[in-house]
């Protein structure tokens, strides 16, 4: 029982964080589609979960969780979860993944659109409980209106596709956990930025962060993030170990992380005032990311429903 990240896991996250600070500053969110991707590829980021035979490091999902949280904290654009988490699981033999030479997107079941599909070399489409692999040239992608300027969504149609063996669920579980980790990062950054703003913004002759109402809203958001995070960490371990409770654990994590991030967004906006979602501030990118990721790989409502159904059906097993 050692429920905390190892030095190696934290060191990986610190490296990713440094790269993102240098190559994915807020200004890049206004101008670039995939800032820092080249540098992350140089670090081997896209091979972390690939087996050594494919030039990967063969790490588990839990090992890369803090690094994924950093991609959320930096609001990193591009199909990160799709290329670095889903693709290595579904295409472990693909020789071009580890180097970051392939960009992949995913159209999950129950969703209408695939993120960043215009950038993708390969599309993984969930259909009939399994996966179909679609090459870029076989696909027609049409932009659709979304909520997140840095995560544009596309309708996807295709003629040719290849069937991949195996069920859809295991890869979707990984995608949901990775997205939940990003949501934790998004929420932490929203909190940090808002605390900093509340310390300097004055109204009625005092920093707004000295008003109890503002304090308590931020405290509530901090508590929500604090107790969502261990659910996400557990879900990663439970997926890595193929625990019998994995499905329920993942849904609990995704729902809690989504709600924490949406609450942090709400509190951030309330503290910033109307300036919060204008182009004046970078805040809007994180707000939009909280909204878009909370709906990705299953909405909060859908995950809550899965948890409810499992628990009501008598699945009260706890893992560990």
């Amino acid at each position: 029982m050692n429920f905390g990240f190892t030095d190696e896991q934290l060191a990986l996250a610190a490296t990713v964080r440094d790269v993102l600070r240098a190559h994915c500053p807020p200004a890049a969110l206004r101008s670039e589609r995939r800032p820092a991707w080249e540098q992350l590829a140089g670090l081997g980021f896209f091979g972390l979960l690939l087996p050594p035979e494919s030039d990967g490091l063969g790490l588990g999902l839990a090992d890369v969780l803090p690094a994924l949280e950093e991609t959320g904290r930096a609001c990193l654009p591009g199909p990160v979860v799709e290329t670095a988490v889903v693709a290595p699981y579904l295409l472990p033999d693909n020789p071009k993944l580890a180097s970051g030479a392939l960009c992949v997107t995913v159209l999950p079941p129950g969703q209408a659109y695939a993120p960043d599909a215009d950038l993708a070399d390969l599309l993984l489409v969930a259909r009939d409980g399994g996966w179909r692999l679609v090459a870029r040239e076989s696909a027609r992608v049409v932009p659709r209106s979304g909520v997140d300027p840095c995560r544009p969504v596309f309708e996807v149609a295709f003629d040719d596709s290849e069937e991949l063996g195996g069920p859809a669920a295991p890869a979707l579980r990984r995608a949901a956990v990775a997205t939940a980790a990003q949501l934790i990062g998004v929420a932490r950054e929203l909190l940090a930025v808002t605390v900093a703003y509340a310390r300097v913004r004055t109204q009625f002759g005092a920093a707004i962060g000295s008003f109890q109402a503002v304090k308590h809203q931020l405290a509530d958001a901090a508590v929500a993030v604090e107790f969502a995070a261990p659910l996400v960490h557990r879900a990663a371990l439970s997926v890595d170990r193929a625990a019998g409770t994995a499905d329920r654990d993942v849904s609990a994590a995704k729902a809690a992380a989504g709600e924490a991030a949406v609450l942090a967004a709400r509190v951030a906006l309330q503290a910033h005032g109307a300036i919060g979602y204008t182009e004046e501030l970078d805040l809007r990118f994180w707000l939009a990311r909280a909204w878009s990721l909370s709906a990705a790989y299953g909405t909060t409502a859908a995950h809550r429903e899965r948890v409810r159904t499992a628990v009501l059906d008598g699945d009260l097993r706890r893992w560990p």
């Binding site: 129950g110 109307a274 709906a295």
Partner: protein, 367 residues
């Protein structure tokens, strides 16, 4: 106590419903685009032709002298019919009542009928970068010159100002804090307007920079130095009944129930049903408030309860819709409403300030 509409009120409702059924256009482009702004102005003119743009105003200014209850009926029908958002909103709901109360006869004759048709579209200019909720801290100033005033300073969060024709706001003519503020009207033609893009990329707001913009003496509303009092009357109308009729929330609640029904999720359905009932509660509460106002009572600080209730209801409704729509949240007409609802707990006095007012002035807790 009763909840019966009179035959005249029922007749008015039928007239409004029929007219709207015949005239409401399909979805217009966003009013924050040039073509959308023009389309919304054309719609306002059409409304005005039917004397439906400002039903509660006196006939001489383009209204019908409708009662508060009739105005509420109009609003219910307007939003239920899916009619366009009102590009004239800031003028007719914020400035209009102040003009009627504090304006000279000449000011009223000159500005109100044009406002009612959308010939002039007014933008409010309250906030400054360092004075958001704390209006008394504002520093923009006006200096007297022959024939009028020159305005200096920097306003922000001016809704619709990117395309509007005129503005209104407070400028300091002497003193500090609440004292020595004066309420000015001004044409936007000489003001440097810098649009502020929102999340959807459209300029819902703008910054206004005044570098000695001239406005004639006839553009002062109320007495010089009395701007705070005039503005508070306007603000209390902004915070009170007139801006936030229940009609819009009722229409949103109906749409939300339909969306939740199609989701098949009983928990979402419960949240939607709860919102639907809360919209009813707001409607009924408004009928009670209307009765008190029509009997000559003041609502005063109790209006803060309404502000907290409707703004958080509106946000809850749109948040649920976003959650139900998932990755289709950018479509189906909900995203605009969601972004707008996010501002609800912020503008017209943040809900933190409203809760202070409820606690201190309604419940009488110590400051």
């Amino acid at each position: 106590m009763d909840l019966d509409f009179s035959p005249a009120e029922q007749g008015f409702r039928a007239e409004v419903r029929d007219w709207l059924r015949a005239h409401v256009p399909g979805p217009l482009p966003s009013m924050d685009t040039p073509e959308g702004f023009a389309a919304h102005r054309a719609w306002e003119a059409l409304l005005a032709d039917a004397r439906l743009s400002v039903v509660s105003w006196p006939e001489e200014y383009g209204g019908r002298g409708a009662s508060l209850i009739e105005w509420l009926i109009f609003e219910e029908e307007y939003w239920a019919a899916g009619a366009p958002a009102r590009v004239t909103q800031n003028g007719i709901f914020l400035l209009g009542p102040s003009l009627m109360r504090f304006g000279t006869p000449e000011q009223r004759r000159r500005w109100l009928p044009r406002m009612a048709r959308g010939d002039d579209v007014w933008a409010q200019a309250w906030s400054e970068p360092e004075a958001g909720s704390d209006l008394a801290a504002l520093t923009s100033r006006a200096e007297p010159v022959p024939g009028g005033w020159r305005l200096y300073g920097h306003k922000t969060w001016s809704s619709r100002a990117a395309h509007a024709t005129h503005g209104f706001g407070l400028f300091r003519t002497s003193g500090t804090r609440h004292k020595g503020l004066t309420y000015f009207l001004f044409p936007l033609s000489d003001v440097a307007v810098r649009p502020i893009a929102q999340l959807d990329g459209l300029p819902g707001f703008a910054e206004l920079h005044f570098d000695g913009v001239f406005t004639p003496g006839s553009m002062v509303l109320g007495e010089v130095g009395e701007g705070w009092r005039v503005a508070m009357a306007t603000t209390s109308s902004e915070r009170g009944l007139t801006l936030r009729s229940p009609g819009r929330f009722l229409a949103t609640a109906d749409r939300l129930v339909a969306l939740a029904r199609s989701s098949g999720d009983p928990v979402a359905a419960d949240r939607a049903a709860r919102c639907w009932i809360e919209a009813e509660a707001y409607r009924l509460h408004t009928f009670a408030t209307a009765r008190r106002l029509m009997a000559g009572e003041e609502i005063g600080s109790a209006a803060s309860m309404g502000k907290v209730f409707w703004s958080e209801l509106d946000l809850r409704m749109h948040t649920l819709a976003m959650e139900l729509l998932g990755d289709r949240a950018g479509e189906a007409g909900w995203l605009d409403g969601f972004l707008f609802s996010l501002a609800g707990p912020i503008y017209a006095g943040t809900n933190e300030i409203q809760r202070n007012i409820i606690a201190e002035r309604v419940l009488r807790l110590p400051r």
